[in-house]
């Protein structure tokens, strides 16, 4: 029998709506995300995907609706009810945010090792040797040669930077990862390697992931479930293969039919 808390969602969106003045960001988005589940959010640019990510990570506040998150102590809290310090602690420890542009998620002025170690220091690690040891093993896990630990991320290729960003996020053992087009802008061979890495890490570490992508192949490879957004609203949801193999809505059918076969 599964433990009681595993039956409860880690993250729930309830009627999430966000207006930018008279411009709609997203409207009435609701879903539950459970531990170990990867959910893809697909839709073209301007469909509200990034607004949704920013709402989920409490970087912006909703015009209506709420986001519930089950904290490590098992208590489910409304993000709007958290203090600034609590929110920052969550963002630094229990959440990861992988940006499309790794320079947004990395500190370009410090070494790769420091980029990874910094998140550990933020949660109270002080022993230099332990921090360096952990950073080294994480670089290795994301397939970066540990000999490059003291190099600046500026000297890294874009694929390496993206993997470094992932290591920086995972080092604190977060439970929730939000990803915004993590493979966008990478060439395909680098993409394949990154996708394979992400797939392995997500299942091994039982991560819950919200993955924003416009690439349906990425959604198929990485996610269990998919929600399709158009003009700020969720128009279709389901198991990923169901949404991609048997799309119901006109827009989803168009999306699926528009993919060029390789």
């Amino acid at each position: 029998m599964t433990h009681a808390t595993e039956q409860e969602a880690l993250l729930s969106a309830e009627g999430l709506t966000r207006w930018y003045g008279r411009q709609l960001g997203c409207r009435d988005v609701s879903f539950d995300l459970y531990e170990g589940e990867v959910m893809a959010v697909v839709g073209e640019s301007g469909s509200g995907k990034t607004t949704l990510l920013n709402l989920l990570s409490a970087q912006i506040s909703p015009s209506a609706g709420r986001v519930l998150y089950r904290m490590r102590d098992g208590v489910t809290r409304d993000l709007a009810g958290l203090g600034e310090a609590e929110r920052r602690l969550l963002a630094r420890t229990d959440w990861g945010f992988v940006h499309q542009d790794p320079t947004m998620g990395l500190r370009m002025g410090v070494s790769a090792g420091a980029n990874v170690g910094e998140r550990l220091m933020a949660v109270g690690w002080r022993h230099y040797g332990e921090i360096r040891g952990s950073a080294t093993s994480w670089l290795d896990r994301v397939e970066i040669d540990p000999a490059r630990i003291d190099d600046m991320p500026a000297t890294y290729s874009s694929g390496m930077r993206q993997r470094l960003q992932i290591a920086r996020n995972l080092v604190t053992q977060p439970r929730l990862i939000l990803m915004d087009e993590p493979t966008g802008g990478l060439d395909v061979s680098v993409q394949a390697r990154l996708l394979d890495l992400l797939r392995g890490l997500a299942s091994e570490l039982k991560l819950s992931v919200v993955l924003v992508t416009h690439d349906l192949a990425v959604a198929r490879l990485l996610s269990h479930r998919t929600i399709v957004m158009k003009e700020g609203e969720v128009i279709e949801t389901g198991l990923t293969d169901q949404v991609l193999d048997d799309p119901q809505e006109p827009y989803t059918q168009l999306l699926v039919a528009s993919v060029l076969p390789a």
Binding site: E37, L195, S203, L239, Q242, D245, E249, Q253
Partner: protein
């Protein structure tokens, strides 16, 4: 003993929005039951919806009406109404599916493609890989290929990797979509005996098979879908 899998009044219509909302009714009222150790072969002309039935049981196609009842641990689930999480857990523990074509993942070697369904359910990686290697050997995939990603394999080799992946985990229900379509007679015989072993083990099998010899050797019951064809 009750049925492991039962379809009651299952219907499927495709609506093609890109063709002006064209509605294609395919199947209506599909009903049959499968018991442990039994193999049902779906029959009917090409395009009648044999693969669609398998996909509805696996949950990758939606079902417009009816019930798909699955028995697991004394508990009955109607797949048509079950939430996505439940369907995922049934796929992890109860329903195996061998699709017509392998969807190759870049960079992952064949042996891991096969062993992967066992990863994470208590089996160690080494023993999962050892079992995967045994099965691949039986299907005549040599060691030299096992450590390569299957993207560059021939059609028949890919299909055998796909079969190994579907057959390795022991699941009470196994769905097979043309498992022998691109295989030579030697490998065809291997797959036929693998299916027979599954049946002896108590697996309920639903298969789409065109090859007459294979069909005769594995089928306990043939369900002709022609009787359920929807009036267009």
């Amino acid at each position: 003993m009750g049925a492991v899998l039962e379809l009651i009044g299952v219907s499927k219509t495709f609506t093609m929005h890109l063709q002006g909302g064209l509605r294609l009714p395919v199947l209506a009222g599909v009903s049959f039951a499968v018991h442990a150790g039994e193999c049902i072969v779906l029959a009917g002309r090409s395009g009648i919806g044999k693969s669609s039935v398998l996909k509805m049981i696996f949950g990758s196609y939606r079902c417009d009406a009816g019930h798909i009842l699955i028995e697991q641990d004394m508990e009955r689930t109607d797949l048509v109404q079950a939430p996505a999480r439940r369907v995922l857990s049934l796929r992890e523990n109860t329903i195996g599916y061998v699709s017509q074509f392998l969807r190759a993942v870049p960079r992952v070697p064949a042996i891991d493609v096969v062993a992967q369904p066992l990863f994470g359910n208590g089996t160690s990686r080494d023993s999962a890989r050892a079992r995967a290697a045994d099965l691949l050997h039986r299907l005549n995939i040599p060691d030299s290929l096992q450590n390569l990603p299957p993207a560059t394999f021939s059609g028949g080799e890919q299909q055998r990797v796909n079969i190994a992946r579907g057959f390795l985990p022991e699941r009470p229900i196994l769905l097979l979509d043309e498992p022998t379509a691109s295989l030579d007679s030697e490998n065809c015989a291997v797959v036929t005996s693998l299916i027979a072993e599954k049946k002896r083990y108590g697996t309920a099998v639903v298969a789409v098979v065109h090859d007459e010899t294979v069909r005769e050797r594995i089928a306990d019951t043939i369900v002709d879908l022609t009787q359920f064809a929807a009036a267009a």
